[in-house]
Point group: C2
Chain length 444, copies 2
Amino acid sequence: MASTHSGNPRVVIVGCGFGGLETARALANAAADITLVDKTNHHLFQPLLYQVATAGLSAPAIAAPVRHLFRRQANVTTLLGEVVAIDTAARHVVLADGPMLPYEHLVVAAGATHSYFGRDDWAPHAPGLKTLDDAFEIRRRILLAFEAAEKEADPALRDAWLTFVVIGGGPTGVEMAGTLAEIARHTLPGEFRRIDPASARILLLEGGSRVLQTMPEDLSRRASEQLEKLGVEVRLDSRVVAIDAGTVEVQAGTGAAARTVTINSRCVIWAAGVAASPLGRQLAQTLGVPMDRAGRIVVEPDLSLPSHPEISVIGDLAAARSFAPGREPQPVPGVSPAAKQMGRAAAANILRRMAGTATRPFRYRDYGNLATIGRNAAVVDLVSPVGHFKFSGYFAWLFWLFAHIWFLIGFRNRIVVLIDWASAYWSKQRYARVVSDIGDGPLL
Amino acid sequence: MASTHSGNPRVVIVGCGFGGLETARALANAAADITLVDKTNHHLFQPLLYQVATAGLSAPAIAAPVRHLFRRQANVTTLLGEVVAIDTAARHVVLADGPMLPYEHLVVAAGATHSYFGRDDWAPHAPGLKTLDDAFEIRRRILLAFEAAEKEADPALRDAWLTFVVIGGGPTGVEMAGTLAEIARHTLPGEFRRIDPASARILLLEGGSRVLQTMPEDLSRRASEQLEKLGVEVRLDSRVVAIDAGTVEVQAGTGAAARTVTINSRCVIWAAGVAASPLGRQLAQTLGVPMDRAGRIVVEPDLSLPSHPEISVIGDLAAARSFAPGREPQPVPGVSPAAKQMGRAAAANILRRMAGTATRPFRYRDYGNLATIGRNAAVVDLVSPVGHFKFSGYFAWLFWLFAHIWFLIGFRNRIVVLIDWASAYWSKQRYARVVSDIGDGPLL
């Protein structure tokens, strides 16, 4: 039952990650009243979240307050709130505490969360990395593991404290494992008296046959080599079957060679899977819209929902396809550039609907992939009209560095990150090694 | 029952605030095995903690990892741990989890915590500012108060969200109130659509007859004037008698004019009192040593304990006196320079005891006092051999700024703070406005 509403059409955007941010920006000149709501007060530059998790950057360096970003866009109202339901019949968004938000157009960009493949009991033992709180928790565990090892008299327990396991060989896992090795081998030596941090073991467990599976095979191989050079033990064909407070059980190898291995570790990091936000599942069930295995909503070519052209779903919440003329539709990956492009496309289609013209199918332009491994090491896979470039090593790392700084939002953030990294590079130090309290966690 | 111990004398230092840090540093060349234990992993520059609480600086800018600071001092072992007891008969320190720490010399520098004058039930409603966790909590409440006001339909509740109360007119309270006014009047306007942040009320409640009571009267008066110019309502002779989740009850005025005033506020900050750490109380009770009203241990002139010359107590935990030739002993204030000087004095006396020579009484050199009020405003009271200088306003603020940056530990920290403040000054922005999650606190 749509309410009669005079005045500008109301657009509600749920989520201010890359998708929601670009949607709102692309509507800067629209004759619309836009409400942008997020359950945090900041836009997070997720590609650098692993730096906060490894104490290399402080949180404000990669997080910008949303209402500050949109202060000059008069048609945007920013609200801090958690969306608990979407009433698609009455066309309003329901917040946990706050006013109802009626809409003529809705963009749902609530993102993804961790997936433990049905084993949510693993979550307390193996935190993932999606939000700032996740990053703080991982940072706390990493720093406290070395502290606990320094105090530990029992050699077996000490080894468990100095064994770090990263689960998942995608970009996040590779970055975390490489950076952990940097911390152990370059940052901390000399600061402890009873342990040698450089003796820490860092294991990267990947269930498939290579790391960075979305990249060309030769780059996967280079990444593995660079990880091993840094001292990371890369274990392929290794599927985790159990995690508790002190151990990880792994089924390693394939076929007849498969065997179960137990690793004693008190610091396990999950980088193996994400699933769509529960809000997506709720929306899909309400509307009877299909979801894929990861809980992402299967959207129409123009990113809207079947029978609900006024609702678009974008970013990690959407199972979207890319439509290029003369080619088969391609699945769109859950990466930041795709979320940004979907945001712009959703905004363009909203403008078309407002004008009464036909919407257009989404077309994803894949410019390639980057992943860093550690100091001086990265792999870059670039796709451009003039050719396909693949490179790795030091130059790739510089490219990766500048690309990430370029895409950071906010001039000050760029300067801060540049300074922090420049001095960290020269001094091998990490800037943000603050743990505010020991906490009551399972560690101690 | 002292254990027979061959080898270097063991010195245990509890706490790595200003007192503990200076003790350890002053023993750099001692033939001793020093263990420095703190329940956090960092040394905190407390004078700038209010900047983290008001989202002006990130935590790493004012906190340095202890083991990094002492990495090159070979006779220091750093441990992260919480001291739960001191066995003064057996001469060892007991940690919550970790090895026992035997000592020949012990320095207790565990610092202070908040005092609510017996009303600990006020603590959840009025957080104080002593640790990084305190700063994060206060920052969260300040930022969320404006967010909640933006969503609030009821005007009375909205006013309560936009009413901030700071309790206590010492330097911390004055700095918090002045900075809150800056945030409301300079930082946030333009970023909200439903509220006008500049209309927020900021009240500073002081029980006595002037703010900054440790400073000369004319400087107190200037500070009040500068606060009022910033839009802070300074209420003198105002004693808090009750605090709950939504109100503060104040007994205002003296004698026949006294009346009770109720203020509706959902963001109250406590800056009215500190008390010695519980470890101090425990130590005093064990040894039958007197404490003053704030729970600080009454120490000997050389900062040691009666009948236990091997134990020194320094910093905010100690009720110490300053002995200058030809003058009456003076009480030593609980300020950072005093803690640093006591640290150096305790170290010097440990070296004397090790050499078998007589210890010396502590002499505090009071160089004066600084407090800032906000942009361009501070009061400075300097005591030097060449004279007594008092000034306020813009030049005092510059002096305050550079003095604080000078005393920050770590070159990188100084650069970071300088850059953050320079750009904040020019842009009127605050850098660290990150709230990682809405939380389950009493606000929402």
